[in-house]
Amino acid sequence: MDREAQRADYAAALRAAAEQRFGAARAAELTQTIEDVAGWMLEVATFPVGAEEAPAFYAEPEPSA
């Protein structure tokens, strides 16, 4: 799947979820935000994050040497 198709897929899924959760009218108001978030999801999904890379949370970052 090319990047634009993948981004459109994410946007469609977000739009469907927004309609279900907030109603069609509110989902329509969120159109631009949905497009932004779909773009971020694409960037995160396609970046080659290391297989060993665990999520960082509270105990990060460690002090510099």
Binding site: V37, W40, E43, V49, E60, P61, P63
Partner: protein, 446 residues
């Protein structure tokens, strides 16, 4: 010299030497607020009675030779997302109308324990997000002071207070400090406790400091930094003597991140390039530095994480008070509810990878340098572009802005310096050296 122009450290020294009374200093600041805040609108609340009582007590103690700490008798102020015992704390939101906490945020408590006097609370965008505060930029009242720490930046720039607490989750402390011609520090994630600060993100909320000199910021950090067992994000890293670090200032090794210049306006890029040349002529070792691969995913990761965190943090309130939220944060919360969990976790993994990939660069240089903002403070209410702060909010790496000049239209610009985790001592030392070379930031002509 007018008392309201004193830096915090100079005021503290004068009080200790008994040539300045805390009450006289306070009255000078109150007079300044009375004269200017109708136009600047930095303050949500000025606690005149409480501050006067604290100043009277500080003066009595000083007369007896009793000094609580390094800021004895010196006023400070806090963004209105910091809990302040007995004072309204509304986070710029109707959702929190009438809320009065019964304890002080950890950073406020530490400053008070050091003798400082909380003069009042400062405007914020709603819950430190996007919906703007009414505050105007003292350099040009048509312009934003930036956000979300809008009142903090404007009040310090307008000489209404020498030191203010802000916060940064995306770009909310360093950017407004730069827009207003100040020094603004976002320390390492976990360096200053966020206990008692209205949360926006579990992994990107930072308490920040704003002042008119690197020395004042170093003093503020020395007081507020340190482990807090009541804050699960608080770091155990030892706290060095940040003021002592300033005495060891020398020409730093600077890695210039050229990619940021290419995203800036021609004027900002030009002023920053001239600044870099001045620093090099003064002895800094300057080289071009290249960002690691994970930088390109850093923005998307930061935005997905903050949306998801914000949705989680506001879930209960939003369920019953959605109509009280303003449009931008309402959209952010709603979208955060829809982001799938696997994307959130992947974004957190990118966060860690980005920081790890930054390490070699941070070991090679004392500081990395960018323009602080892609453009000066824009006109209107929107709080400006935070993109040059996002990678450091995501990674938790410390960053600071130091004033470097004015645009042709008379608005302040800054350079942003970044260093390794918990390397604030060397970051502040390098910043002080740059401040020596570039000169202190000017004052707005209010």
């Amino acid at each position: 010299m007018s008392l309201h122009t004193l830096d915090a450290i100079d005021a503290a020294r004068a009080i200790r030497e008994k040539v300045l009374s805390p009450a006289d200093l306070l009255e000078s600041l109150l007079e300044r607020i009375d004269r200017l805040d109708g136009r600047v609108q930095a303050w949500t609340l000025v606690d005149r009675a409480g501050a006067r009582e604290a100043a009277r007590r500080a003066g009595d103690e000083a007369a007896r030779g009793v000094f609580r700490g390094p800021l004895h008798g010196v006023p400070f102020a806090a963004k209105d997302i910091f809990y302040s015992a007995g004072l309204p704390t509304e986070g710029g939101s109707k959702v929190m109308a009438g809320f009065v906490p019964d304890y002080d945020a950890a950073a406020i408590a530490r400053l008070k324990a050091a003798g400082a006097i909380l003069l009042g609370k400062l405007h914020t965008t709603e819950f430190a997000t996007y919906d703007p505060a009414p505050t105007r930029n003292p350099w040009n009242l048509a312009c934003t002071p930036g956000g979300s720490s809008s009142g903090s930046a404007a009040a310090v720039a307008a000489r209404m207070i020498p030191l203010a607490l802000g916060t940064q989750t995306i770009g909310s402390n360093v950017r407004p400090a730069s827009y207003c011609g100040l020094v603004g520090l976002k320390p390492t994630f976990g360096r200053i406790s966020t206990r008692g600060v209205m949360a926006l993100s579990y992994t990107q909320d930072h308490v920040g400091l704003m002042a008119r000199s690197v020395e004042d910021v170093a003093l503020g950090l020395s007081i507020t930094a340190g482990h807090d067992p009541a804050d699960p994000s608080s770091a155990r890293a030892p706290v060095p003597d940040y003021l002592a670090a300033l005495t060891r200032r020398g020409a730093p090794r600077i890695g210039v991140l050229r990619e940021f210049f290419e995203r800036a306006t021609p004027e900002v890029a030009d002023v920053t390039a001239q600044t870099v040349n001045r620093l090099a002529r003064a002895g800094a070792v300057v080289e071009e530095a290249k960002l690691p691969p994970a930088f390109r995913a850093a923005y998307a990761a930061a935005y997905l994480i903050t949306r998801s965190d914000t949705a989680s943090i506001h879930a209960e309130r939003f369920a019953v008070k959605a109509e009280l939220y303003r449009p931008a944060i309402r959209s952010a919360i709603e979208m955060g509810m829809l982001i799938p969990g696997d994307f959130y976790v992947r974004a957190l993994r990118i966060r860690r990878q980005f920081r790890r990939e930054m390490n070699p660069l941070l070991e090679r240089y004392d500081v990395l340098l960018t323009p602080t903002t892609p453009a000066p403070a824009p006109e209107g209410m929107a709080t400006g572009d935070p993109q040059f702060q996002v990678p450091w909010s995501l990674s938790g790496l410390p960053s600071i802005t130091v004033p470097c000049g004015l645009t042709t239209s008379g608005l302040p610009l800054g350079i942003q310096l970044v260093s390794g985790a918990f390397s604030e001592a060397s970051l502040l030392s390098a910043s002080a050296w740059c401040e020596d070379v570039l000169g202190r930031g000017a004052a707005p002509g209010l």
